[in-house]
Structure formats: C-alpha cells, structure tokens
Amino acid sequence: MKLSITNINKTYPNGVKALDNINLEIETGMFGMLGPNGAGKSTLMRTISALQDPDQGSIQLGDIDVIKQKSELRKVLGYLPQDFGFYPKVTAVDQLTHFAVLKGVSNKQERKEIVHALLNQTNLFEARNRYISTFSGGMRQRFGIAQALLGNPKLVIVDEPTAGLDPLERNRFHNLLSEIGENIIVILSTHIVDDVKDLCARMVIMNHGKILMEGTPSKAIDTVKEKVWSKLIEKQELNDYKKNFVVISSKVADGKLLLHVYADENPGEQFEQIIPNLEDVYFSLITKN
C-alpha cells in the first residue's frame, strides 16, 4: 500500500495559496509532516482525507483514487483532525460505539469488543461512562486516536495531535502512536520537532504550501552537519548579528541569548561548532525560505 500525491495545488478564495504543487510518495510506517502554523499541513491532510478537493492534481491510495472514490477511501481511513469536538452529554463508550457503527463494524459483539479494547488501549476504560465533554485535553486526544483506529484503517492521519498537551500526556500519546503497526500508513502532522524526531521514520518539512525537505530525520540532520554554530551574546547585540549572519534560532539562557547560526565555514567571532539536531534543520529551512 502506497500513498501517491501528484501535483496537488490548492488556492483558497481569499487568494492564499495553501498547497503549491505538492508531490509525495508515502510508504507504510510513520510519516512526519513538520511545518509552522499556516504552512498548509492541515490543508494537505484534509485533501488526503477527501474533506476538500484540490484545485489540481491527483491522490492515489493503493488502487483508490481518493478524489473520485471518496467512499472507498473512507472505508480504510482513520482521521484525527486538528480541531475537533464531540457531542455534549455522550459518554465515551457510546460515542465510540457510534463511530464503530459509522465505520461499518456491524457485528454487535465485535463492536463491543473493539470499543472496549480501544478504550483500554488508550487508558480510557475507567472513564468510559463519563461524558467526553468532561475529559482533559490529553484524554480527548487519546479518545480521538481511539476513534481513528476503529475499523482496520490502512491510512491514519493525525493532525497536530500533541499541541497543547503537557509533557506527560505527550509522552503517553507518543507511546500510543508508536504502537500503531508498521504495515499501515500513519501521517503525523505537527509543528513540534520532537514529535517527528521521536516517532517518524520518514518526514517532510513544509512551509508556505511547499515541501522544503523530504527524507529521514537522520538524513535531514546530515544536510546541516558541521554547518551550525552557536554563541552566547548580549540581548542588545542581536540585531547586529542578524545583519551579519544567518541566524536560525535564538534562545534565552542565563540572561543572555544563545544564538545558532548557519554557515558553511566557521563564522569566527568565537562561534563554536555544534552537533546539529532536527530542530536546527527545521529552523534553518524555515528561516531560509
């Protein structure tokens, strides 16, 4: 099973070009999609999920033409949108059963089993008779993943699932995602570098509707190997440095600023070479574009 995205374009009525000629081949396994807010990730996710039609281009999941065979796609799709909610005054078990029916799990016994198993799996079993509206953010996201995993999906799309979660919950969520088998496609869109670093075998970095980089996280790091330099500076010096160097990030540390700059050669001025991480790749790409 392979997801092929070919020449996808999408311009919104207000003139924003959300997707600019996207081409991607996604194999089974966890696929990360990294980009800042407004990069076009959600538009791409929704287009793959057949919630929107692209202006141009085609999307193929195995034998399924996503644009023309929307109902075929939906049979094998698990989707967790960025912004979602649930009916008020419905318990977790009822809501999940509801989704199970919608996903075509028609056998009552099977439905009960899968619902219980998923609630167990997402640590929500004891909260199953509570209204979802009373859930915490982390519980809601776990519940969201539970519904996405219903009905043997071949393609699971999760859109910014960890935004706003505390570190503990994010950890839990990562564990959960990592459990999803290797033989289905999982697309994880996020603006948090660690999500991708920890979970994804392959990834892209997106901004302004374009794909800036594609590959594995380690390959990505290779692209900036020996090119990232750091230095502690005074805060008021930042503007000068910005004029003279390609500043990819600046962080406050001990009342001073820790500057990361990108340079093929040693920029001098007491900059030290550091071993880059994925974040440096991400910031350098975003800054350069």
Partner: protein, 1232 residues
Amino acid sequence: MFKELFLFEIRQGFKKISTYIFFSIFFFMYFLIGLISSGVIPIESGDSNVYVNSAAAVASTLIGLNQNIFGLMNSLMLVSLMANAIQKDYEYNMHPLLYTKPISKSGYYFGRFSGAFTITLFVFSAQVIGYLIACLLGTGNDQVGPFHLYNFIEPFLIFTLPNVLILGIIFFVLTTFTRSTLSAYFFCIVLLVLRSITDTITADIDNKTLAAILEPFGHEAFQKVTQYWTPDEQNTLLIPFNAEILVNRLLWLGIALGITIIGYLRFEFSQFLNPISFLKRKTKTSVVPTVASHSLSELPEVQTDFSAKSRWKQLFYLAGFEFKKMVKNSFFLIICAVGIGAMFIIYRFSGVIFGTETYPVTYNILEIAGSLFQFFILILIIFFSGTIIWRDRDNKENELIATTPVSDYQLFFSKYIALIYVTILLLFAIMVTGIAIQFTRGFNDIHILEYIKTLFGFRLLGLSITIGLCLALQVLTPNKYLGFFLSVFFTLILTIAFNLLKWTNPLYQFNSSGPVMGYSDMNGYGHMIFSFLILKTYWLAIVISIALIAIRFFPRGKETSLRARFSLSRFSIPKSAKLVFWCSIIVACGMGSFIYYNIKVLNKFRTAKQEKELLVDFEKKYKKYQCTLQPRIVESKVDVAIFPYERSIHVKGFYILKNKHNVSIDSVILNYNSEQDYKELAVAAPNIIVFDDTELGFKLVKLSTPLAPGDSIKLNFEFEDAPHGFKSKNARTTIVYNGTFINNSIFPLVGYSDKFELNSNKERKSYGLKEKPRMAPVNDSLARMNNYLSGDADWIRFETIVSTSPDQIAIAPGYLQKEWTENGRRYFHYKMDCTILNFYSFISARYEVKRDKWIDPLHPDKPVEIEIYYHKEHTYNLDRMIRSIKSSLSYYTKNFSPYQHKQVRIIEFPRYNAFAQSFPNTIPYSESIGFIAKVDDKNPESIDYPFYVTAHEVAHQWWGHQVIGGNVQGSTLMCETLSQYSALMVMEKEYGKAAMKKFLRYEMDTYLQQRTLEGKKELPLMLCENQQYIHYNKGSVVMYALKDYIGEDVLNNALKKYIQKNAFQQPPYTNSVEFVNALKEVTPEHLKYIITDMFETITIYENYVKALSYKKTAHGKYIVSLTLGCAKFKSDSIGKSIPVNTNDYVDIGIFALQNAKDGNTEKELLLYKFKMDQPEKTVEFMVDEKPFKAGIDPYCKLIDRNPDNNTCEFGKTPGHAELGAGIKKEPVKKKK
C-alpha cells in the same frame, strides 16, 4: 462609565447588519399590511365604517400582529436583539478582559441593557413607521381618515414600548443568569402558551377583566376597553388610560422593574464562572488513567461490512441515535410538558357555547386542544431541523463524521427519520393527553382509531413534508438562523401571505391539503381522503426531490461554499439516488397534472376575483329582467334520488306555475345552476327558447300562447348533480356518504333573483355597478309582494318521493305516505297536507329514531308526533330536546295559535355547518350544536342550549312558517326576534328567571361587540337588514325588557292577535311597521316611549350607582339610601351618540345575602320600577333584612355598555360611570 458603555453598545448595534435586516422586515411587513388596509392594494373587499389610521386601528394592528406566529417571531427577534447584551462577552470570551477593568457594576449592567434596549426600540419602531407611511400613501381613500401623528405615537407608547421593555428585560435577565439563550427561547414558547390561554379563557364572559389585567401585552386589556366602541368612537377617540389598561401596563412594568432590580442585585462579575442552572447535574469525579496494559497489536480483528443491508442498519441506528439526542434535550421535555398542560387548560375553556361545555368527543379534542400542540410540533420541527443539521458542525464533530464511510444520503435521511420519530412521539403525547382529558371528564366513548387515523395518518403525512423542506433548507443555508427564518417563511408566512392575496391554487400553496372538511362523527373523514392523499403525494414527491438536490450540497468536510460542496459530492451519487430523484420528479409531475386536470379541467377553477366577475357579469347582463312579470310556483312535486356513496343526486319533477298577475305573461325566465347537468328544463306548452346562457345558467323562454291571468302552466325539470373529480378548495359538504342535507335552493328559480348580486358597495363601485341598498325600505310596496324567503312563490303544495341507499333514511317535509324498497334502493313518499312556503329540504343518513308524542290538553284526540333522527352515539341530549319540543308546543299553542302540522321532527346533520334550521315540520339540526353539549344541571348559570335551540327552531313553525314578513327591512324582527322571545319564555318557564340572566348578558355582550364591526349601517331593530346581532342578540334583550314592562300576557295577546291577522297571508306581506303598531296598541301611554327607544331608534343607557349606604332603625328594619344615575343616549348608524333627557322607568333593586346549601345566594328584597326624571337621584327605601347589594337596573334589562356598575355592594366604592370616555356628553370638537 454608564455613558461610555451605553454609547459603545449603541454604536455597535448600529454597525450590525442584522439591526437593519430586522428593521426592514418589520417595516415591509407593516408597510404591506398598511397598503392592503388603506386600500392602496385593493384586496379587502367588504364595506367598512372605520378608518385604518385611527388610534384604535393602529393599536389593534400593532397588538394584533403580536399574536400567534407573529408574536413568536417578535419574541425571537427580541431574544436576538436583547438577550445577548451581556452574554456575548462570555460567548466571545471577552469577560476575563472586561471584568478585570475598573468598570462599575451599575454602569456595565444598565449601560449594556439600555444600549440594547435603544437599538431594539429602533427596530420595533419600524412597525409603526411602516404602517404610517402606508396610510399616508392611502390618503384620499374612503378607509383613510384625517391624518394625526398622535394616532400613531400613542399606541406605540402604550403598547410597543412597554412590551419591548418587559420582554427585553425578561430575556436579558434570563440569558445573563443562565448564560444561555436557550432559556430565553424557552420563554418565548411560554409566552405563546400564555397568549393562547388568555385568548381561550375569555370565551367565558366572566373572565374578561381578569384576562385584561393578567395578559402581558395589553392585548386583552385593549380588547376589553374597546370592545363596545362604535365605528364613530373607533374613528375619533384616543386610547383611554383607564382602569384596565393602566393596571395591566403598571402590573407588567412593575414585574419588569422587579426583575431588573433583582437581576441587578444578584449580578456579580464573578457570576460568569458559575452560571445558574435550572437542572443541577451530578458531576462525576474524574478518574486517573492507569497505564495501558495491552499493545495495539492485540486489538481484536473486526469485520467491516458495507453491504446494502448493513447500510440500512446504519441508517436506522443513526436515526435512533439522533432521536435519542433530541428527546433527551431538556428543551424538548419542557415543551412537551407545556404542550400537555396547555391542552388541558385550553380544553377547559374552549368549545364553550353560552358558557356551556361540549362533551369531549374525540374530534373536538383533536381540533381544539390538538391544534395548539400541533403548532408546537411545527416549531419543534423547525428548531430541531436546524439543530440536527448543524449539530456536527456546532460541536466540531463534522470532520470526524465526514471521514467515516457513511454516505451523505444516510446522514440526511437518518435525520429525516429521527425527526419523524420525534413527531410520532409528540403525536402520541397528544393522543395520550387527549384520552386523559376524556377520562378525567368522565367521558368514555373514546375513538382510538380516530386518534390513530387523524394523528398518525393525516397529520404525520403533512408534517413529514414540512420536515423534509426544513431539513433541506438547513442544508442549503449558510447559517442556522437564516435556516430558521427561511423555514418559518416557507412553511407559515408564505401560506398566510398567499391566503391574504387570495392565491388559493393548491399546486403552489405549500403542503396544501386540497378541499378539506372537518371530521364528523356522522360522516367520518368523508370523501376528502382521496384528494388529500393525491396532494400530499404531490408535495412529498416535490420535497423528496428538493431534499435529494440539497444532499448534493451536504456539508461534508470543510467546504463552506455551495459550489465547492456540490463539486465535492459529484463522484458520490449512488444510482439509487438518481433513480429516486427522477421517480420523484415523475411522481410530482404526474400528480401535478392529475391535480390540474381535476381542479381546472373537470372543475372550473376560479380565483375569488374571477368568481366575483362572474356575478358582476350576471348582474350586468340580466338585471334588466328583474321586473319582468313572472308566473309564480304554486306546487312542487319532485322525485329526488340521493346516491350518498356516489355523492350525487338525480332530480326529476315539476313546478306548477300560476299567473297571479292581472295581465297575461308571455315569457318565462329560468335561472339554474350551470354546474348541474340538466336533462330537461322546459315549460309543458308550446314555446320558443329565446336564449339559453349555459355558462351563467340563465334561460329565457317565450310562450307561443301567453299565459292568461289565473292560468297555470307546468314546468318540467330533470337534472343530475354529481361531483367531477375534486376541486381546489371548498369540499362539497351537502351530499356526503352519511349525512346529506340539501334544500330547494339547488333547484331552478323562476325569474331574475338579486340574491347573487355583489353586496359590498366598495366592490360594486370598482366594477362599475350602482350602489345597492342592503334591503328594500320597510314600506316598499313592490318588495312586499314577495316574502323574504322566496322570490318566486307564496304558499305552495308539496309532495316528493325521495330515494336513497338501503341503509339510510331519507327525510323531506310532509308526512310519510309509503316506504318501500325497490331495485336495492329505499324509497320514501312524503306529502304535505297544507300549503307551505317554498322552502324545503332533503336529508339522508344512517339514523336511529327516537319517538314521542305531545298531547294537546285542548285537543287530546290529535297528538303531535315527535321524532328525533340522530347519529347512534349522540344520545346525550335527546330527552332535553323532546322536553323542549313539548314545552314549546304547549307554550306556543296556548299563547300564539294552533300548530299547523301533526308532527315535529329533529334531524341531525354533520357538523359542516353549525346551525339548526326550521323547515315545515322538519328541523335539521347540526351535530355540533346541542347534540354533544354537556349541560351541567347543577350549575344554575350553565345554559341548556340544546333546549334553547330546539325551542327557538320550534318557534319558527309559527314565526316564519305561519307569519312571514315581506322582503323588506325589519322582517326578521317577526321571524328571528320573535323566535328568540318565544324560546326565552319557554326557557324561563323551565329554568326560572335566574337562569335568564347569564343568557341575556351574552346576548347583550354579543350585540354590543358586533355593532362595532358594522360595515354599513347599524339600524334600529324594526329596520334591521338581516343583521344577526340586531335581530337575535339585541332582539332577545329588547323583547325580554318589553315583556317586563308591559307584562307577558299583554305582550302575548298582542302577538296572538298579530298572528291571527297575518298567518298564511297572500302578498303583500306584513312588515315590521304593522308589528310595532300592534305593540303600540297594547302599550300604556306612559310607557309608549319604550317602543320608540327599543324598536324605532338605537338607544343606549349608562345606569350606575353613585353612592349607597344604609341605617338600621330601632324596629330592626333598614333604611337604604341610594344615589343613582341614569344617562340615556341615542346613537346613529355609525355609533355617534347624542345624550337625551331621561324620564324613564328603571328598576331599582336591593338584595340580601342568603345562606344556601351550595354557597351564598342573593335574595331580592325589593325590586321597584322607579321613574328617573333627573340624571341623578337620591332615594330612600326601607327593607326588612340587612341589605347586601343594591343598584339600578340590576338585571340589566336595558342596553348598557357598563353593566358592572349598575349594582354595588354596601361598603364598596361604586364603579366608575363612563359618561365621557366613549360617549361624549357635549359634541367634542370634530377632528380636522
């Protein structure tokens, strides 16, 4: 602080587009209404004496459009304008920012409130502005009077302003405290119920004052104050600030003020974190998640099934899910509870005739109580269609649902089915409530099947169509609220507008039902089922195809624009959907054509306008023959074959026409119904047809040999009257499956009849016809050559053979000669042994018969047969009717003259008409009046109206069938008024004087109210032009008073003499002048003025107590001192009153309180006719017991617009006398 917040709120309000939308909705609505009523758009056709721009007219327009659906619309607008003034800060999460600023509570609370209130007032001012401009445009039309700005400002200040304030405060406080507009919306429904209840409780005359004070919008108070305003008063007076209006307005402003203050005191900025909730919910403690124990790889394998069967299962599962979500809603439960409660309350007060209840037969429950509940269902449908179409999006669950493998069709139709479930549940609630009402009233004759058929057959079908449209509209609209508005517009407003414009074609009247007739116990649903089903199929097919188009735009996923949604769904249309769509289109077209064929081809579809044009055409072409001398019918012999189950009749027979003039006649004019199929209509003598207008049904025949004076000629006719398919409206209710009732008006007429001419002079003018008096003057000697029932006959011989289906009995005037069965039909031969008026009927139904006899003590050898033909279940009041017949025969034969027939028959007919009518020895009597009346014998005020109606109809055998006036003004005095009088006397004998009091109060109330609606001229009783409020209602009061003044025996002797002189007379017929002269002859000189006051002029009194007190004497007696007033007015034809001097005899009464078993009753200590020769007089009387109450004209014998202040209890302050307001003492300066 207040100022800044206030101004900010106002600036915001005027920036919002919705403010202007609401303003324009009101403006155009009232502008349109104004254009119609001021005659700029000429639709209103009746004549009228009132101006549409008087203060009273403006007020009643403003108030009137605050009722029912319009009231609901106003409330909803108010909610959206005012409820949110503080709530919006929470909605948009502004409150943490605002409440931490240094603003004062009062500045914030009142600033926000007054800002929103000002904007709302601006919006609502559009009503009066729209109406005002429309009235200005109509200046110069008859119905528009001189313009006065204050006529518009005053009603706005008295009604609109306080109403907006009261409701605004309630909505504002409710929403602010519950932090949800739902409670405000709920309150709208409560208001709707409140309005309906106050409307129905005023059916009982005793509740009017209470309702006037309690009803929150001043509607009932306004009604109460202006109920007796004559056209002149309506045109010239401003709304008075008198007791009812003042108390009502103050009460509700006080309530509003109280709510504001409580609201203000209870309001805290921290409040927002803890909204007040009506339903406390248990909060469950949160559970700390434990660590996962399994791996995802251990998830059980599941089968997913997308077969057709599974999809159907999904559909019904989803429907069930949606259904549960809707009915678990507290809004739903409250509405149900309110609906059930309202049904009980409304049932208690409706169906009341003269304060007497009817039995809660099933159709009564369904129609009276169920109709309000059904309105609730409609509101719930509109509300829920929005909620369930938008629920996924409102809860942000839409993307989750959209990516599951359910189709748009499943999603849409599951909601459709769910709403049908909800409707079924609500209809079931109606049924259970209805049955509960029946049981609690001790009524056990419950028709479950009728409930099921009506509710789950007819109503459900109609509501399903509405549901489909509302859902489709919600799918197509960009927001829920626009969806609500469009739903209300298409399902309610458009229908009202079409009706207003008289566009009645069922092909474009949404959800039309075709010709309808109510359910009758006798005839069931009758023959409307077929056309009903055809029309509903037509609309259902249309709605299904609209729904299938709407589904193409189903809001799946993120797209909001319609075009994108349409394109998104282009690859997901199943073949079956296309098939169903085209099938629906074909069915809609097929049914549409079939309906068209029925209403336009088989029947002539005419709009109201076309129908009028036909009448105009008829008058213009043939009026010239009105004076052509014609032979008159002296005998009618007809065979009438009734085919109830084909709903047709076949008539074959002849008239004998006699030349009663002293010149010979050479032509015969025949006027017939052109929709009947005539096989023969010809004089049996050599003749030439000069012309035969088959469209208008007018035929002129020239006799080869003129008919010499005194000679006779035979007119043969034969026709068939059968239905062709169905018509667009007006179900024909005369010939039905069970309960056919026709009279000879469907037979051909001889000569030109002016009965069919247009009556409204306004319309006549617009068609270029001359103004026409409603009736000929009382002394018109030419008009008196006809009686007012028939223009082509005097007294005729009558014989008939009526046949019907073998299970039915057919009845016609006359005595049964023979009955037989032949060729599967049942025949009845009736023959009358004396001459009768040309007025006879034919009736056929499946009857039970109850028989009795009345034996005349003077002629015990000639008993009068009494027969009641009734529907088998309607046995409740048969004995009352028989008793009434017997009492009537006794009283009338003793006091008036012998009964001319040997038999009295009462025959029940279906409730399509609510009257009883007297034909010779035959009284058809509607099932709805009397047969199901529930007379409470224990309550002395409960009026036994089956008894009364029967007595009235029997009296017509004398007044109408012995004496009949000419076809001139005032003749109904000798027919209807005297029948009322006769019935009153029989009732008084049976039930005593006390029982008359409430009856006469109703009669007086009806007279005083109806005269305010007079469109032409109010006339004195003796010149009455068939005006029911005069000859029935005023007549009762006047005759009862006359009897009181001159004595029953004296009056009856005069009547006896009058009958002797005029019974069965040949033309010229008697008139009211002769009758009033007969009364004058027996009236003593000092009372002659009452004949003038009561019969010859319109006289109104204002009798009142000014002061009263008593002293106990040493001998244990009581000296009562009374100051009494008596003002007397003469009124002209539009109710302009002029005070006249009083020199009249009026009752003075003093009453004591008497202990009786069932509470205290009043005992008469003194009743004395006192001459009031001054406007106010102080008098003293001595009585034996302790007086409790005293006054002038305590029994309200004289016509008085304020009967309540006639008496007063000792120790209380006498009521206010209205000598100025309403009736002006001195001519007030005429407004320019």
